[in-house]
């Protein structure tokens, strides 16, 4: 019996045969369109655009293209010959190629030739490298019988009898190599009769304090202290010390780069601000680890200014520490630069949670393409990126160099997937992970 939704509306036999043919064609067409739609969903492309004619448009989905350095944007789409133009975007998925397109400018001829290279990593790891960073303030160090405290960035040596006079236990100091001393400039000598220097850490009853400007700043919790220092770095004292060093009203929270949670929200701490992470996908794609999340109290959350959402497009903030998986080098992000932490002891003075794994290979240009002019005057460049998919990071950085100065109105980048079994499996795995993230509880720790 033929499938008919309107059996009560009869047709003559000849017309009914026609209806059957049309109905079959309609359902076949629907299944075809459904299959095309499924292919589009499974092997979807991600498109990014930037309009130089409307640079403030909310439709711009990539960061402002720029010359070397974050503070030198390309103005009005005018690209100078021979200069590298950087443009970055965060794309999630397993892509096979990226197609970069831009039109010929209205008042300029296009370039005769040009090339584009691509790198994939976290955007902050692609920052230029700044000076190495030394030990963190409050570090207790010893070398060749000398004892040191790092205070306000300087390395201050204790006078011969100052260590016992001030009550420090020699085994609280970390033995370091002589070459590690050079990363902090030398500061004033610490004398036993001059009191405690800035950067001294104390444990009074069960609370932790940092001495700064002759005042004791209280850590908001033991966890906040442990996010910055080791437990042996604090000198145990009783409450009498407050008569010499009054309590500051400014409390101290968690170290920059820490992950804290309150309720179902997880935040990244940076520069006395907290950035709420928008979803678990961003959390994992940015290289964070659930075991590093520290449950914070409402009072601790209130210490911070809550800023904009931390999304997949956001750059890791100041205080983030990357670890190179190939050579174990560690880098800290600070003020749009990445700084090498030059020794294991220096790393340990800063790092009290997991670092974010990165690959040295991601700094090398892995793929390249030559810009070609198309039939309709626009320029394009197709760059294979399949080899980059195993590298950690969500950020693709394209570096374009044109041989002639050109003015362009917009820039489009389209990430595409090949129709392949690998991409199908990756899609299914992604769907599985998304459903798992949504339905299987991954609640951050709570108090």
């Amino acid at each position: 019996m033929w499938f008919d939704l309107t059996k009560d509306v009869p047709l003559a036999e000849k017309d009914y045969a026609r209806y059957k043919k049309f109905q079959t064609a309609l359902y076949a067409l629907a299944f075809l369109l459904a299959a095309i739609m499924a292919v589009r969903v499974i092997f979807d492309a991600q498109n990014f655009t930037f309009s130089f004619t409307n640079p403030d448009s909310s439709k711009n989905s990539m960061a402002v293209p720029r010359y070397q350095g974050v503070d030198s944007p390309v103005e009005n789409g005018r690209i100078s010959a021979g200069r590298d133009v950087y443009f970055d975007m965060a794309a999630t998925g397993t892509f096979s190629k990226a197609v970069i397109e831009f039109p010929q400018g209205q008042d300029s001829s296009g370039p005769d030739s040009g090339s584009i290279i691509v790198k994939k990593s976290y955007q902050a790891f692609l920052y230029p490298e700044g000076d190495p960073i030394g030990f963190k303030d409050g570090s207790l160090l010893k070398n060749n019988g000398n004892y040191y405290l790092v205070s306000q960035g300087t390395l201050r040596r204790f006078d011969a009898d100052a260590v016992p006079a001030l009550g420090y236990a020699p085994d609280a100091f970390v033995e370091i190599a002589p070459e590690e001393l050079r990363f902090n400039p030398a500061g004033q000598l610490i004398k036993g009769d001059e009191g405690y220097p800035d950067g001294s850490l104390f444990k009074i009853d069960s609370d932790y304090y940092l001495l700064e400007d002759a005042r004791l700043k209280k850590f908001s919790s033991e966890q906040a202290f442990l996010s910055q220092y080791g437990p042996r770095q604090a000198l145990e004292k009783n409450a009498d010390i407050f008569s010499k060093y009054p309590l500051s009203e400014i409390p101290i929270g968690f170290s920059d780069g820490s992950l804290i949670s309150y309720g179902e929200s997880v935040y990244v701490v940076s520069d006395n601000k907290i950035l709420p992470i928008n979803n678990p996908v961003t959390f994992l794609e940015k290289g964070f680890a659930w075991e590093d999340v520290i449950a914070a109290s409402a009072d601790e959350i209130a210490l911070y200014e809550k800023t904009k959402l931390f999304t997949i497009k956001s750059v890791h903030p100041n205080g983030t520490i990357f670890a190179n998986i190939e050579n174990a080098d560690h880098y800290m992000v600070k003020d749009s630069e990445k700084h090498l932490l030059p020794s294991r002891n220096i790393v340990d003075s800063w790092l009290h949670h997991s670092s974010i794994p990165v690959s040295e290979k991601s700094l090398e240009a892995a793929s390249q393409c030559e810009i070609k002019q198309g039939f309709f005057g626009s320029y394009s460049c197709e760059i294979p990126i399949a080899s980059l998919q195993q590298l950690a990071g969500t950020n693709y950085e394209f570096i374009m160099k044109l041989d002639d100065s050109t003015k362009i109105d917009y820039l489009n980048v389209s990430f595409k997937k090949d129709i392949s079994r690998t991409n199908l499996v990756a899609f299914l795995r992604d769907i599985y992970n998304k459903i798992k993230n949504r339905y299987v509880s991954q609640a951050p720790p709570t108090l």
């Binding site: 047709l11 109905q23 309609l26 359902y27 739609m37 769907i431 998304k434 949504r438």
Partner: protein, 130 residues
């Protein structure tokens, strides 16, 4: 104007188109329900590519066309409620509702579902009695 256009068709063609529009409506409905379920499971999976309002708009246009063609071809309306399709649709509706309140306390979620089901059933009975 639409009726003028329809009058140009032979009556058997109008009925044929009417029957095909009913099939098309089923396909739109299937797409809409599938999209809603998929969106409920993974938000954005369909709407990134095809906004749901477009499907709803297409369904609305389809329903209007069916209504107009029924008038033109003087086809009597089949008003009987098909309970075979009503119950699966109602179950999907309840599942979607449960899914949308997943973050709520489970007992509050179930209470709201029970309240919605009872209210829906009573409204349905009221209209049926009339």
């Amino acid at each position: 104007m639409f009726h003028k256009l329809l009058r140009r068709f032979k009556p058997e063609n109008t009925i044929l188109i009417y029957k095909l529009l009913n099939d098309l409506l089923l396909l739109w409905l299937a797409l809409f329900v599938f999209s809603l379920v998929a969106e409920g499971l993974i938000p954005g999976i369909v709407s990134q590519h095809l906004e749901l309002y477009k499907i709803a708009l297409a369904m609305l246009i389809n329903v209007v066309l069916i209504r107009e063609m029924r008038k033109e071809a003087r086809i009597g309306s089949a008003s009987a409620t098909d309970k075979k399709i009503a119950w699966p649709l109602f179950s999907i509706f309840l599942l979607l509702l449960f899914n949308s309140m997943l973050k709520l306390d489970i007992y509050l979620n179930l209470f709201i579902l029970a309240a919605v089901s009872t209210t829906g059933y009573l409204i349905f009975k009221t209209f049926q009695d009339e």
